[in-house]
Symmetry: C2
Subunit: 301 residues, 2 copies
């Protein structure tokens, strides 16, 4: 009597990198679930249907969602409220809804505003996968293989709903973990949101230099990694920073404090303390590698 | 009557990633030059000779350098002075000397201290290639393929010496460019030294969090790129920051100013201005890619 995805009607709203990769993974696995998509770009939706990735599509979520078993909201954080508002009138009580946004507090708040309370069948989720590329064209069936998906159910969230969403991501190859909404947003502020902010800032700083062309011409790989991150989708990141501003500023302040310390070490030519700091960063890298060695290195977020 | 490397005696001092890769490239090309190495680790030197990568080796640079045509100093910036001091008594007037350090002003200063003036046969150089890995074991014959090498000759530097060093790097697959010492150090502060400082700082900041293990466990790719950079050789980077402190602090200050601006945008939830900033970073990334598309992406520094 274990739960399965067979015969479930799954509607993916937003067929970009994340939604498209999920649809491709489910198609590839041939689990017997019926996958539909909702989007704004008809060409993309037609192509996905022609591919066989989805069974059908609509530009109006209400058409497909009335009898859905599972709805996956694959859109930037700040688009979720409006989309849920449109869906609310047709949502059946049994339908499980989840999302993929990188910030969970703001999503839970939005859901609360739409429904007055957080429905027991709403499961906040976040696949830690992605790329600086976006759109259906960049999607791939193995995007989630070996990656982590964090679910942040509330105390009253339906356990069966959590299990269904877990099944979805496990089937796609991911490891599913749960933590609290607040903790998720703090951890992600440190590990993902801050690094992206630093990368956006570096590219911005350097592009404003008079010698910008030359700087780009001679840029080494360290800079290349930064620019890769900084080419991520601007709308998605705007939404993330606006909705996780406090946690991001909090870790940013610690970071700037550390930068100030390094600045002093540079001005004092404090070779010994610089060496100790870099040694410590080396050691931390090794700790990090020991945690991440099972992750898929080909699809970094 | 064009210059060639055939029959030249080339001594590489320091057989790590950079020196080892140069030796391997020269061996692979079979140009008829005679490549020797000086190092401290006999096992590595013996292995390189057994490989056929070098013809011979010594732990004492003087042994091999008396009759060298070209000496390549492959060591951290702050080690150059002491090594040159030891070499000075045996250096023949015709011998061309070059280095590979990421900072050129400090190298020129060190050379000046050793010789009282900068010999016309000394050619400051910097291959913009490397990796977070170090040591002979990580060296590879194609490390320089498609990469840039910057030479910073002084006004009185011997043109034939510059040509010989250019030949060396061109043979290894690199594109050779020249610029002034000061300009090199400013451009590299922006494109390489600052990004490394930011990466070291981020890994350091996060590793001091109480939730460090968890942060590492859930770290996404953005953070992975930072930690990769931060695992670079601590001694090499200590030397770079100590010797290029002023240029690095100068661009760091601009960067911190930009970070402060972003911090304000976050606190104000200024979605529009954040979006514009990220859009601009996206556009800069495209400019960067148009400059770097011919570079070898497999061996970032």
């Amino acid at each position: 009597m274990s739960m399965s995805l067979a015969n479930r009607k799954i509607v993916i709203i937003g067929l970009g990198l994340i939604g498209g990769s999920l649809a491709r993974a489910l198609k590839k696995l041939d689990l017997g679930c019926k996958v539909f998509a909702v989007g704004r770009n008809k060409k993309v939706l037609e192509q996905a249907q022609a591919d066989g990735t989805i069974l059908g599509w609509s530009v109006d979520a209400k058409d497909l969602c009335r009898d859905a078993d599972l709805i996956v909201l694959c859109m930037p954080v700040l688009s979720i409220e409006q989309n849920l508002q449109a869906l609310a009138p047709v949502l059946a009580p049994h339908t499980v809804v989840t999302d993929v946004a990188s910030v969970k507090g703001a999503v839970v708040d939005a859901v609360g505003r739409v429904f007055g309370t957080i429905p027991a069948n709403f499961v906040p989720g976040h696949p830690i996968a992605g790329s600086e590329q976006s759109g259906y064209a960049a999607s791939k069936h193995d995007l989630y293989k070996g990656r982590k998906v964090i679910l942040t159910p509330l105390p009253h969230t339906n356990a069966d709903a959590v299990e269904l969403v877990s099944l979805l991501w496990q089937a796609s190859g991911a490891e599913v973990l749960t933590m609290s909404v607040e903790h998720h947003d703090e951890v992600l502020a440190a590990t993902s949101h801050l690094p992206h902010l630093l990368a956006f800032a570096l590219v911005d700083t350097l592009s404003q230099q008079g010698t910008r062309e030359e700087i780009f011409r001679y840029a080494a790989g360290g800079f290349r990694d930064f620019t890769r991150i900084a080419s991520s989708d601007p709308q998605m990141w705007r939404d993330i920073f606006v909705t996780n501003a406090d946690a991001t500023v909090s870790i940013l302040d610690e970071y700037m404090h550390d930068l100030q310390r390094l600045r002093e070490l540079l001005l004092n030519r404090d070779a010994d303390e610089l060496f100790r700091t870099f040694k410590r960063a080396n050691a931390s890298r090794n700790v990090f590698l020991s945690f991440s060695k099972n992750q898929n290195p080909k699809h970094p977020e």
